[in-house]
């Protein structure tokens, strides 16, 4: 399945929808162009959700194989990126279910450590959030917080969609998101403090 330069140029000028139709007819070069356009976003999404490079790589592979099987069902009613991201999220969630990963238990009224910590210590002056540090901190979140944060804040899904995908209530989704943000703040502050101490 090597690529032919000329055909690649032609493929590159096609829309995702046209490429999807060509792929559904078995055109592997069209599918390779789709892969080249979207593989980094799909891999990044998998990596953020599972926080493990090897697992993310395997999931990306499975997502694209599944995409090839299902690509004929893409009718262009929504953006291809949205459709593909939904496919990816569903696949990763299925993977979680197989592994028995559960969302952290929450109570609507319960106090959480991060809020308690804040009430005791207060907030420092807000600082610029380093994207790389945030990326690392996301991988340190408990799976349930991480999933909701990635789906809502990184991928832009609404709480209703997140709740639907995860089979939880909207209230739980909101509560997990708030806790995730509070925990991230804590993790980011810890990292900055460690850096400062190391410099001393």
């Amino acid at each position: 399945m090597t690529t032919d330069g000329t055909n690649n140029v032609a493929s590159n000028s096609l829309s995702d929808y046209e490429l999807a139709q060509a792929s559904a007819r078995g055109d592997m070069q069209a599918f390779e162009t789709i892969y080249k356009r979207h593989h980094r976003r799909v891999y990044s999404l998998c990596l953020r959700m599972v926080a493990n490079a090897t697992e993310a790589e395997d999931l990306t592979q499975e997502v694209f194989i599944q995409l090839f099987r299902k690509i004929g069902s893409f009718r262009g009613e929504s953006a291809f990126t949205t459709w593909l991201h939904r496919l990816t999220v569903n696949h990763v969630l299925m993977h979680f279910r197989k592994r028995g990963v559960r969302l952290e238990k929450t109570t609507e009224e319960g106090e959480i450590g991060e809020i308690q910590d804040f009430l005791q210590a207060g907030a420092e002056r807000p600082r610029f959030v380093d994207r790389i540090a945030l990326d690392k901190a996301i991988s340190e979140l408990p799976p349930g917080y991480r999933t909701v944060f990635v789906l809502h804040d990184v991928e832009g899904f609404e709480h209703e969609e997140v709740a639907n995908m995860l089979g939880v209530s909207v209230g739980t989704s909101k509560s997990q998101l708030h806790k995730a943000r509070m925990r991230l703040r804590q993790l980011l502050n810890k990292k900055t403090d460690t850096k400062k101490e190391t410099k001393k």
């Binding site: 990044s44 993310a56 194989i65 907030a123 600082r127 959030v129 790389i132 945030l134």
Partner: protein, 228 residues
Amino acid sequence: MECRAVVSSLSDYLDGRNIWASDDEVERIETHLTNCPTCLNLKLELSEIKNAARELPVHTPPLALWARISKAIEAEVPSENGPARETQNASGWWGWLNSRKFTFSLPQLAAAGAFVAILIVAGISGIFGANQAPLNFQDVRSGLLLPEENEIKANLEHRLDAINARKAQWDSQRRADFEQHMNKIDESLKLCRHMLEGNPNDAGHQEMVRALYDEKRRLLEDVERLKW
């Protein structure tokens, strides 16, 4: 309004989902934020995190991933019953092996236990190894995991020598990716060796070893085909 109540409502407030709250409540939050620098700082911090989340760095998977994907698809396309099934099975084994270290849930363990019990009861090991010379404990201790392993190893080592000679010209990322894959396969082989030491004719683990060597062969073939 107390800090505790404001902190709990901040994410909703930041997301602009104030439908649940009356205008009065929103006004109370805003008044509190005007008078409480600590809560205001928290709001700004959470807002920074929320905004930064939309601009996170994009990660790149290893270059060889497309080769693996296209090969798997290629194997599926010609026929649903032919070579495709073989490749899928190998890939299934490999996927299973990859996830084995940390992803077993209780039901999966129960299923695996049941599978092993069936193997024992049905005496399948005899069927698997019927056309091959049986291994004994000494073979395994001396490094032999399969009756045909010496041939497989010779073939792979020959290919690996040629690739190792070119590796110095690869960029560090590609080298690291390749070595990571090879190490992963070798680690799994080591685990299988450990299992086979206990039972040299364990057909399940012998099959796993074959699948692992097959994975290694495919990885080397990918590298050769990509002319790295």
